[in-house]
């Protein structure tokens, strides 16, 4: 409203209405708007709408880049499911997507919960955690491939963990015993100590470390003389775990990509969760403390419900990302058996550029359409799933 009580149009882009040249003005706006939008609209029309339409059309033809396309109806879609490579790609994609999404969402939330403290220097750590996510997938994949070599860092750490297992186990046992003993002692003295009491834990940790070191020096426990672990991460067709039914077994190279993917995605998700966690009123937790809720109870009853909108977003982004995983497969390339890591995305690329054979554009398009529908369905299903939980 202005001084004279004229009601203004409240819509975005609105101007004071009911003037003489209002008609002319709106026409002007139309023209300016479309002029401003023109470059974007052209890009959108050519590279997204037209291309999607064309892929849709190709998926019903036998186009091979050289001969003219012939209409074949649903033949491509049907023949996809007769191809063992496609079925393997589908299986790999689904396993990858479900496992990675579950693990990384859960870990990101747990890590964010641990870090959700009002302390100095949080910004610095947040930035440090983000570094693995800003480098390109190629850089990260190359670094991981190097670590996955037969005598690489990962097998080395595995070897060392196995060799030092008695010492590590002794240390953990000592810490637990010390903690339990101390908590019982404190409670008998009348203090409300919890099982995870931080001050007592510091003491248990230090004394446990000294005790373990003493036992090591005294020769009670020692490093086991085991040979180096020579686990083949890349050039292998082994599928794990052996006891699982065949359709649930994950090829080892795919496990390698899973680990890498979880590693690089967790920081982003953790930062998104952290922002949500910092928005939960501390009074919720204080109230729970008064009622004597345990740490897991607080996590499941307060934290998880409070961050549900972020969980939806994180899971959606993760599903989209994992269902369309391509880069890692392409970079692993000939270092791993194709069938062990092939995903739907890579299948499409592989049919489009199959090396010496004739490209199968129709088949590639059909697989791409299938992938698009699968992605949409996954996001819809999880939306329904998470919503229904909230009610």
């Amino acid at each position: 409203m202005d001084l004279y009580g004229t009601k203004y149009n409240e819509e975005p882009g609105g101007r004071p209405g009911l003037t003489f040249n209002s008609l002319k003005r709106s026409t002007q706006e139309q023209i300016s708007a479309y002029l401003f939008l023109a470059p974007f609209l052209i890009t959108l029309a050519v590279f997204f709408l037209y291309s999607t339409g064309r892929a849709f059309y190709f998926s019903f033809t036998d186009y091979n880049l050289f001969a003219d396309p012939n209409w074949v109806g649903l033949e491509n879609y049907l023949s996809l499911f007769r191809q063992s490579l496609f079925l393997r790609a589908l299986q790999n994609t689904l396993l990858f997507s479900v496992i990675v999404t579950t693990v990384q969402t859960f870990l990101a939330l747990v890590m964010a919960t641990v870090l959700n403290q009002r302390i100095r220097g949080l910004a610095f750590f947040r930035a440090a955690y983000y570094i693995p996510s800003i480098a390109s997938s190629v850089v990260i994949t190359l670094i991981f491939m190097w670590m996955y070599q037969r005598r690489g860092l990962i097998n080395y750490l595995w070897t060392e963990a196995r060799r030092h297992a008695p010492i590590i186990l002794l240390f953990i046992a000592l810490v637990i015993v010390l903690q339990v003993a101390q908590v019982i002692w404190e409670r008998r003295r009348g203090y409300p100590a919890r099982w995870v009491d931080p001050a007592l834990f510091l003491i248990s940790f230090t004394v446990g470390a000294i005790g373990t070191l003493g036992a090591w020096v005294a020769g009670v426990v020692s490093v086991r003389p085991l040979p180096p672990v020579d686990f083949t991460w890349l050039a292998t067709r082994v599928r794990l775990p052996g006891w699982a039914p065949s359709f649930l077994r994950v090829p080892v190279p795919l496990v390698a990509i899973m680990i890498q993917n979880i590693f690089t995605t967790i920081p982003t998700m953790m930062i998104m969760y952290l922002a949500a966690l910092q928005g939960i009123p501390p009074s919720f937790y204080e109230a729970a403390d008064i009622e004597g809720a345990s740490v897991p109870q607080k996590f499941f009853r307060i934290t998880i419900p409070s961050v549900r909108p972020v969980t939806f977003l994180v899971v959606a982004l993760s599903l989209i990302g994992t269902l369309q995983m391509f880069d890692q497969v392409a970079i692993f390339g000939d270092a791993v058996p194709l069938e062990s890591v092939i995903t739907l995305s890579y299948y499409v690329y592989d049919r489009m550029f199959p090396g010496a054979q004739l490209p199968q554009v129709g088949l590639a398009s059909a697989a791409a359409m299938f992938l698009a529908i699968l992605t949409m369905l996954a996001v819809l299903v999880q939306r329904v799933f998470i919503k229904s939980e909230a009610e």
């Binding site: 709106s26 139309q30 479309y34 401003f36 939008l37 470059p39 974007f40 609209l41 890009t43 959108l44 590279f47 997204f48 037209y50 291309s51 999607t52 892929a55 190709f58 880049l65 890590m111 870090l115 403290q117 302390i119 750590f125 440090a128 955690y129 983000y130 570094i131 800003i134 480098a135 390109s136 997938s137 190629v138 850089v139 190359l142 670094i143 491939m145 670590m147 005598r151 860092l153 080395y156 009348g190 931080p198 510091l202 982003t268 922002a275 972020v310 977003l313 369309q324 391509f326 880069d327 392409a330 970079i331 550029f353 554009v361 398009s365 697989a367 791409a368 992938l371 698009a372 992605t375």
Partner: protein, 485 residues
């Protein structure tokens, strides 16, 4: 509050003491918690940044696959730096780059251990005719130091009795140090490096040398040196200089890595430019104007971000192959395949083409928060639409444009799929991510990870620097991702 024991009940003094007690008790818990949280944060930081840091350090080593992996890196030892510089000066009068030039005489020492009962025979030293690395650009002819080098006779300069650890047991024996020189005979070209191989008899053990051996081959019998006249630079950042030196274009002989870096920068700058200009225009139109079909634009924005790259790249590949409706003829070519223009203009995946739908969204969000008053004032002053946009709106949009610049640069720099489709040959037309894949394919087979890691670390540097300087925008990017739905 502490639970009081029976005999303390009703005693005010005891109650007060208990209160003070419990306050201190709680405070100790808070401190302990803060300490634990910091420790956990540091632990997370080590786990998350560790691999990259370890890769960066290992990329300095001659053999990054050394087992067990260690961070004792001879390349970081200042004593070796001095030696490398001296040897570089001896080889080519260049303390930094090193090399092998006519008239050079490179002095070198080798120390061997001879256990009791073996006959101390000097090792056999030669300059092998060895190709540096394998693969990319291997078809080029290069000069070999072996063709010009002469190794002088070995002279014993020191002989000392002592103990040395051999296969886990200490043995008595003799340490013998030999001295010799590698000379450049006659006249010839400046050769880049001087490899050296010292072969000992079985039972004799290489101990030390002027510069540590690059690797021990054939069960320790051959001490192999990649370059005994490296100069400081070629020694410390050996793999990094190899990245630039060894991978070369077959046709022009130019460094591939330089070409890839240049291409990556060109594509990233071009995309930054198109997004700053066009995405802000589109964002402005959507935020400010009411027009027919506005709803459809929203649908288009969402669609461009949702449709998988695998769907759009098929048709876009064909368009680019056929020169984008004849557009390529303006650039004097029939196709945009294997051309940076093809990478810049078209695209595939999450809205990435010349104009990124996500960036349109960022600009739209920003313009909606801008007050209209200033634009209206400019309009009253008689400024036309375009003038108003350039003179008034854009200068105010600086923070949002900053985010667009940073995020577009990072996204384009890291982009892999679309350049992989468009850029296939020759090697020098690729961008960094696609080029690094070629590195992996060619050098990975030979287990030459030093070069691959060095290339990867180098290619990550620009975005890491950008991140360190403009961290704020990256975090905004995540926050934006959080508000997209």
């Amino acid at each position: 509050m502490r639970f009081l024991k029976t005999d303390e009940r009703g005693d005010p003094a005891a109650l007060k003491k208990a209160d003070g007690d419990i306050t201190g008790w709680m405070a100790r818990r808070r401190w302990a918690r803060v300490g634990i949280v910091y420790s956990v944060m540091i632990l997370f930081a080590i786990i998350l940044v560790g691999p990259m840091l370890f890769a960066a350090l290992s990329s300095l080593k001659v053999n990054p696959l050394e087992y067990p992996p260690s961070l004792r890196i001879p390349e970081l030892n200042p004593r070796n730096w001095v030696t490398a510089a001296q040897l570089g000066r001896a080889g080519a009068g260049d303390a930094f780059q090193g090399g092998f030039a006519p008239g050079a005489e490179i002095p070198f020492d080798l120390t061997y251990f001879y256990p009791e009962g073996t006959d101390p025979a000097p090792p056999d030293v030669e300059v092998p005719r060895r190709r540096p690395g394998s693969g990319l650009g291997a078809a080029r002819t290069i000069d070999y130091a072996a063709d010009y080098a002469e190794v002088s006779a070995l002279e014993v300069v020191e002989r000392e009795r002592g103990e040395h650890e051999v296969d886990g047991t200490r043995e008595d024996g003799v340490f013998v140090t030999y001295s010799f020189a590698v000379r450049y005979v006659g006249d010839g070209p400046l050769v880049g490096r001087v490899p050296l191989a010292a072969t000992a008899e079985r039972g004799h053990h290489y101990v030390d040398s002027t510069l540590p051996a690059s690797r021990l081959e054939r069960r320790g019998m051959v001490a192999s040196f990649d370059n005994i006249a490296p100069g400081l630079g070629r020694y410390v950042v050996r793999n990094y200089s190899r990245v630039f030196d060894e991978a070369r274009s077959v046709t022009t002989g130019r460094s591939l890595f330089v070409a890839w870096t240049r291409n990556s920068f060109l594509v990233a700058f071009a995309r930054v430019l198109t997004n700053v200009v066009f995405a802000s225009m589109a964002g402005y139109a959507v935020a400010r104007y009411r027009f027919r079909g506005r709803f459809l634009i929203f649908f288009g924005l969402l669609f461009a971000q949702m449709v998988p790259a695998q769907v759009t790249f098929i048709s876009n590949y064909l368009l680019v192959r056929d020169g984008l409706f004849g557009l390529s003829h303006l650039f004097g070519r029939d196709t945009f395949l294997n051309s940076l223009w093809g990478v810049i203009i078209a695209g595939a995946g999450s809205g990435a083409a010349m104009i990124h739908a996500g960036m349109v969204f960022v600009m739209k969000q920003f313009f909606e928060t801008l007050p209209r008053d200033i634009e209206e004032a400019a309009e009253i002053d008689g400024a036309g639409t375009v003038q108003r946009y350039i003179r008034v709106v854009l200068p105010m949009a600086r923070p949002a444009l900053g985010a667009v610049i940073i995020l577009t640069f990072q996204g384009t720099w890291n982009e892999f799929f679309w350049p992989l489709v468009v850029l296939t040959s020759p090697e020098e037309v690729k961008t960094l991510p696609v080029g690094l894949l070629a590195f992996r394919q060619v050098y990975g087979v030979a287990g030459d990870w030093g070069l691959i890691l060095a290339g990867a670390i180098l290619s990550a540097l620009p975005v890491i620097v950008l991140f360190v300087v403009f961290q704020k925008y990256f975090m905004q990017g995540i926050a934006f991702g959080g508000s997209k739905e």
